[in-house]
Amino acid sequence: MINKDEVSTVVKLARLDLTASEVKKYAVHLEKVLKLFEKIKKIKTDDVCETSQVTGLENVCEEDKFYWDENQRPKSQKELLAGVPESEDGLIIVPKVIEG
């Protein structure tokens, strides 16, 4: 049902670096889970609306105003960037995005 190539495609789409044994393991798991889903494929749902949310809230807008609880505002740029893996002079360092 799901072959190794398909798993490799999914792995690529998901941006995951997996070992060969991981790919093998997850292929088995995916196969099992997809088998579980087989029975719902047969149900006719042509005229059924899709539900993506349950509260029925629509067009939720807020005033066009910057909202910050003053107690919550980070006191410095340093505090805000504390979790960034690599930074310099208050900037986030990333690998080269466009190859020259």
Binding site: L16, D17, L36, K39, E50, Y67, Q72, P85, I92
Partner: protein
């Protein structure tokens, strides 16, 4: 003061009457954590200094007759999926093992504004993916009733901590049963509020259309008290409901006479243990004796609810977890000045940072959303979600409450299901249909069954229509009064 008898309601009365101080309470629970948690593993982090200082501040306020709320000074804990400013928040995952949020989740802000003391952060399945807390990247929490068994999950650390008296309550999250199932397996109360009742701002996202935040406590009254603190509209979460929040704990006096309870046939499947079913039947009998009207009903789409959930949930998981790119926060293989390629940083940071179950769900979610499969899986599941939701709406036209089991079995052994994702997913079969429908539900202790000579808890699930937490809490509270046993606490080996 006996920990076995303490609840949030009782402790807050003792605090108000000046019979106890927050510092005494906080020290009591910190000491119990030191003594028992090495055995249970309910906490990932204990913030002793901060908790003591919050308790001291609370006592000052009480002394000046200026408590911030009724619960000022009550020590609780948080599932480690909830961001607390300047306190490490890991989601139980290696990829966030050093993440220190620069802000509070709205629930944390509200808890602080009400003056509660935060003892620490509870263990969970990484990113809340699981039903046993075995998927934590750090440690396995044990069920305090039998330490060879799981506490349930994903809020397993929270449920284990509350049931063994390591805190008075905890805030958990529930995407498919993650509050209710561990509550059932540990003999505590777990409330999943209506979707949108409690802000998700600052709560690390699992599946955004299903995630809710709610309390895990020893009693229904305590759940009501904590819900009063955390519920409400939030400018920072556009999906929150803009309803006034009642004082739930003061609306729990109506009798069960004439309450219409629906019992869906589909929730009593052959996979359920006979003695678990007996406890649920006993609970139904108790309701009947108290004057409730019980009707057996059909919810035909229950049969597809598990599949619907296990498509929608991983789809949203794969999307939510795409933010972990190794660049902005979390685990990264990137070193500045190196020649690493962008793609390699993505692939390797994610490959090394995510645990087993997160990878599995990312892949499943990516698959069901990918071109060629979208209609067959994701779209189909969204349509079936409508059907599942309609089942609930139909029943609630002529019923006040739906009563079901929470879990087909009591707590299972550690390791028993960890290698078989299907087995693990099936343990959620009675809790997952509720989240796609968005309705509120609660797990209340309903008794104990024996396994290997040990008492293991069984909970009953009560489900109410959208936005009807007040009625749900009242009925659950009335059930507590008639169920026929008192609060117990497991015996835990000291270390």
């Amino acid at each position: 003061m006996k920990v076995q008898e303490l609840t949030i309601a009782k402790a807050s009365k003792l605090l108000a009457d000046g019979k106890i101080t927050s510092i005494e309470l906080t020290k009591l629970y910190l000491a119990r954590i030191k003594k028992f948690d090495p055995e249970i593993n309910a906490f990932l982090l204990v913030n002793e200094e901060a908790a003591l200082s919050q308790a001291r501040e609370s006592d000052k306020r009480r002394l000046n007759n200026e408590p911030k709320s009724r619960l000022d000074g009550i020590p609780i804990s948080l599932k480690d999926l909830i961001c607390q400013k300047n306190v490490k928040t890991t989601a139980g995952s290696k990829i966030l093992s050093n993440f220190v949020p620069p802000y509070d989740a709205t629930v944390v802000r509200k808890i602080k504004e009400a003056g509660l003391v935060i003892l620490g952060k509870n263990n969970l399945d990484a990113f809340a993916h699981g039903s046993s807390t075995e998927n934590s990247d750090f440690k396995v929490t044990k069920n305090p009733w039998d330490t060879s068994r799981v506490p349930g999950g994903s809020s397993g650390g929270s449920a284990a901590a509350v049931c063994s008296g390591l805190c008075l309550g905890s805030i958990g999250t529930d995407t498919g049963g993650s509050i209710r199932q561990p509550a059932s397996l540990c003999s505590v109360v777990g409330l999943k509020p209506t979707y949108g009742r409690v802000s998700r701002y600052g709560v690390i996202a699992m599946a955004s259309s299903l995630d809710v935040v709610g309390p895990i406590t020893r009693t229904v009254e305590d759940a009501a008290l904590l819900l009063e603190v955390i519920a409400g509209h939030d400018q920072l979460d556009a999906t929150t409901l803009n309803d006034p929040i009642p004082i739930y704990s003061k609306e729990m006096d109506s009798s069960l006479k004439g309450v219409r309870i629906a019992v869906p046939k589909e929730y009593f499947t052959p996979g359920m243990d006979a003695d678990v079913e007996e406890k649920i039947t006993n609970a139904i009998d108790k309701f009947k004796q108290a004057g409730a009207k019980i009707t057996e009903v059909l919810m035909p789409h229950t049969a597809y609810a598990l599949e619907t959930y296990y498509i929608i949930q991983p789809a949203e998981v794969s999307s939510n977890l795409s933010r972990y790119d190794g660049l902005r926060y979390g685990f990264s293989v990137f070193k500045k000045g190196s020649n690493q390629k962008l793609e390699d940083v993505y692939f390797n940071s994610r490959g090394q940072g995510f645990g087993n179950e997160a990878k599995r769900r990312i892949m499943l979610g990516t698959y069901v959303l990918s071109a060629g499969y979208y209609d067959a899986y994701y779209k189909k599941a969204m349509q079936l979600r409508t059907k599942v939701k309609m089942d609930f709406e139909n029943i609630f036209r002529s019923a006040d409450i739906i009563l079901t089991p929470v879990s087909p079995t009591p707590a299972f052994k550690i390791g028993e299901k960890s290698d078989d994702p299907i087995k693990m997913y099936l343990s959620d079969i009675y809790t997952v249909p509720i989240n796609p429908a968005g309705v509120p539900a609660i797990s209340v202790p309903a008794g104990f069954v024996k396994r290997d000579g040990k008492d293991l808890p069984v909970g009953v699930q009560l489900i109410a229509p959208m936005r009807k937490e007040a009625g749900l809490l009242n009925i659950a509270h009335q059930f507590e009064k008639i169920r026929g046993f008192d609060l117990k606490m497991p015996k835990i080996n000291e270390t």
